[in-house]
């Protein structure tokens, strides 16, 4: 990929993180860890890979996206707002009374959200359904889905994985946000998953593992996945929970955090803005 394009995606990811943090800081609390860890994959999906049209959210030929780890909704909302699905101002309404941006993703409430999630494990099934329906109706749509590694505790993940492979769903691309943590602590300490990639290989999926914060690697893996025929693809993203936001990245338990200190929040926002400015300067110099 062209270096300038890579930088653009990195800037998009940084902006997603900044806007996500602003949403949570405005509210004073939220699921920051798992939202920050998917900033890069969201930038790649919405910036490079997926066919979507913010002006026509129901465009029949669009690709479908399911954020199965629905508690990371604020990161998706930041992405959708930056893409123009709804005004940036709306991000300030996260979890406010009567909001269109609820804590967990809801297709009924939020423009650009395709499926409803929030009960872990369910998103893979709806993504499988969207991919199957696309095939049956003769569409060219891909279905993309992000699950968490902790979420892979759910049996439904493996039911969906089994069916997707049996149905040879090569228009289904799954990402596992392997940040190594879940609510109560480390995934390895709670109910160790072992080698997630090996599990998907055993389920006959085309399996890749990449640095989930390397947008070029993620984009390349997605292109490779799209080229697969006759089997679904999974891309294991090795990520850091809370990535790119110092307040969360440094915290041991960052699944859900309080942000009561307005001064510290503003300091972090300024820092994140400076990171984006520096990246933008690099991009201009390219």
């Amino acid at each position: 990929m062209d270096k300038k394009r890579v930088k653009e995606l990195e800037i998009f990811a940084a902006r997603i993180r900044l806007e996500t943090f602003k949403e949570l800081a405005c509210l004073g609390f939220g699921h920051v860890g798992g939202a920050m860890s998917i900033g890069d994959v969201l930038a790649v999906l919405y910036g490079e890979v997926m066919n979507v049209d913010p002006a026509d959210k129901n465009w029949e030929e669009r690709d479908y996206f399911v954020l199965s780890k629905g508690h990371a909704g604020p990161a998706l909302y930041a992405t959708l707002a930056l893409k123009g699905f709804f005004p940036m101002e709306m991000l300030k309404t996260l979890n406010q009374n009567g909001t269109k941006l609820p804590s967990h993703c809801s297709r009924v409430h939020t423009p650009g959200v395709d499926l409803t999630t929030g009960s872990l494990g369910q998103g893979i099934s709806t993504a499988v359904g969207a991919a199957l329906a696309s095939r049956i109706l003769g569409g060219k749509n891909y279905a993309y889905c992000i699950v968490g590694d902790g979420e892979c505790d759910e049996g439904q993940i493996w039911e969906g994985a089994l069916l997707a492979a049996h149905q040879k769903l090569d228009n289904l691309i799954l990402f596992v946000d392997a940040n190594g943590k879940q609510l109560d602590g480390n995934v390895a300490d709670i109910c160790a998953l072992g080698d997630i990639g090996e599990k998907f290989r055993a389920f006959q999926w085309h399996t890749q593992e990449v640095d989930g914060h390397d947008v070029e690697a993620v984009a390349d893996a997605a292109a490779d996945a799209k080229a697969q025929k006759g089997r679904p693809s999974v891309i294991i993203l090795n990520t850091v929970k809370g990535k790119g936001c110092e307040l969360s990245e440094k915290a041991e338990f960052n699944h859900h955090m309080m942000f009561p200190d307005a001064e510290a929040n503003q300091k972090e926002i300024t820092r994140m803005e400076q990171v984006i400015e520096a990246m933008t300067a690099e991009w201009r110099a390219m």
């Binding site: 009960s119 369910q122 199957l132 279905a143 039911e159 969906g160 089994l162």
Partner: protein, 320 residues
């Protein structure tokens, strides 16, 4: 006015009606798909599967996943009809149906077969005696239970043409034909099968035949029983329940379901808030099912016409 009932003495296997209606609908509409969890043959859909292999998704034994897959298919524009036994459709799938399909406001059609005691030899583990009670907690779910071939075909067509989440409680085995083939139905509107002034017997599904028989027995004793087929449990035809209370002053519900969360309870809710009249409830109490043939199970759970007659007399006696 009571609807005209058929005088045909016939019994039709409802799974055949399901398959034939699905074939017709699928021919006319490419969005129709059938999903199942390793029960394609028991629900009589083998012909559909052979005709439309690419539109039949046998998920294997994974009911919760099927519910989610159906939701996702709807989001992309298909109209999925997803079948499994009523016990699994409810007890195993509530969370997926609630969130992925219900809260998501998707267009998913659920078929739950072997309702209540119709699980027969499969016994307690397979008796969906609480399926309607569990699923009615999903706010935008419509619950229907057709009783015969005529009604099933009409309901399937209406449900197919109505956007939303529907659960059809389906006896896949033989059912006596009750309705004349010209009968028109509307989901949400109960059917008055017989007029009467002393008591109203309200049933659905396999209990329609039982309440009709009970009404005949009561007539022989000089008691005029009205009969209603309340084939839609949710949204309940509350106006009809209240009208029955007004006209007859006593109501007896008869359901192939656990009374505590079923039709009798729904009727009690309506009556207590509007027009309290004596109410008697026939159905399964706070116990588990068991294996057996239908006549045995009807007797075991006190659901026979004789039980309904007894309940009707007791209820009438409580009138003020």
């Amino acid at each position: 006015m009571a609807v005209r009932l058929t005088d045909r003495q016939e019994s039709i296997e409802l799974r055949k009606v399901y398959c034939q209606t699905m074939l017709k609908m699928a021919e006319e509409d490419k969005r129709i798909v059938a999903l199942d969890c390793d029960l394609v043959s028991p629900i009589g859909m083998t012909e559909f599967q052979k005709t439309y292999p690419e539109r039949t998704i046998d998920c294997g034994i994974m009911e919760g996943n099927m519910a989610g897959v159906a939701a996702g298919m709807s989001a992309r524009g298909c109209i999925p009809f997803a079948h499994t036994f009523s016990c699994f459709q409810s007890r195993k799938c509530l969370d997926q149906l609630f969130l992925s399909a219900g809260f998501a406001e998707l267009n998913v059609k659920l078929i739950g077969s072997d309702p209540g005691i119709m699980a027969l030899y499969n016994g307690a583990s397979h008796m969906g005696l609480e399926d309607m009670g569990i699923l009615k907690n999903i706010p935008n779910l419509t619950l229907v239970e057709p009783c015969d071939a005529v009604q099933l075909e009409a309901v399937l067509k209406e449900v197919k043409g109505t956007y939303g989440l529907h659960y059809i409680r389906l006896n896949r085995k033989n059912a006596r034909t009750i309705y004349d083939s010209s009968t028109e139905f509307k989901v949400g509107k109960g059917m008055v099968l017989r007029e009467g002034k002393d008591v109203t017997l309200i049933g659905s599904g396999i209990m329609v035949e039982q309440v009709l028989e009970a009404a005949k027995l009561l007539e022989a004793e000089g008691i005029q029983a009205a009969v209603v087929d309340m084939f839609t449990w949710k949204p309940l035809d509350e106006d009809l329940v209240v009208a029955c209370a007004k006209n007859t002053g006593a109501i007896v519900t008869a359901e192939n379901h656990r009374i505590e969360t079923g039709l009798g309870s729904a009727a009690a809710n309506v009556l207590s808030e509007t027009l309290p009249v004596p109410l008697g409830r026939i159905g399964v109490g706070n116990v588990y099912g068991e294996v057996g043939v239908l006549p045995y199970l009807l007797e075991r759970f006190e659901m026979t016409p004789a039980d309904i007659v007894k309940k009707a007399k007791e209820t009438i006696a409580r009138k003020g």
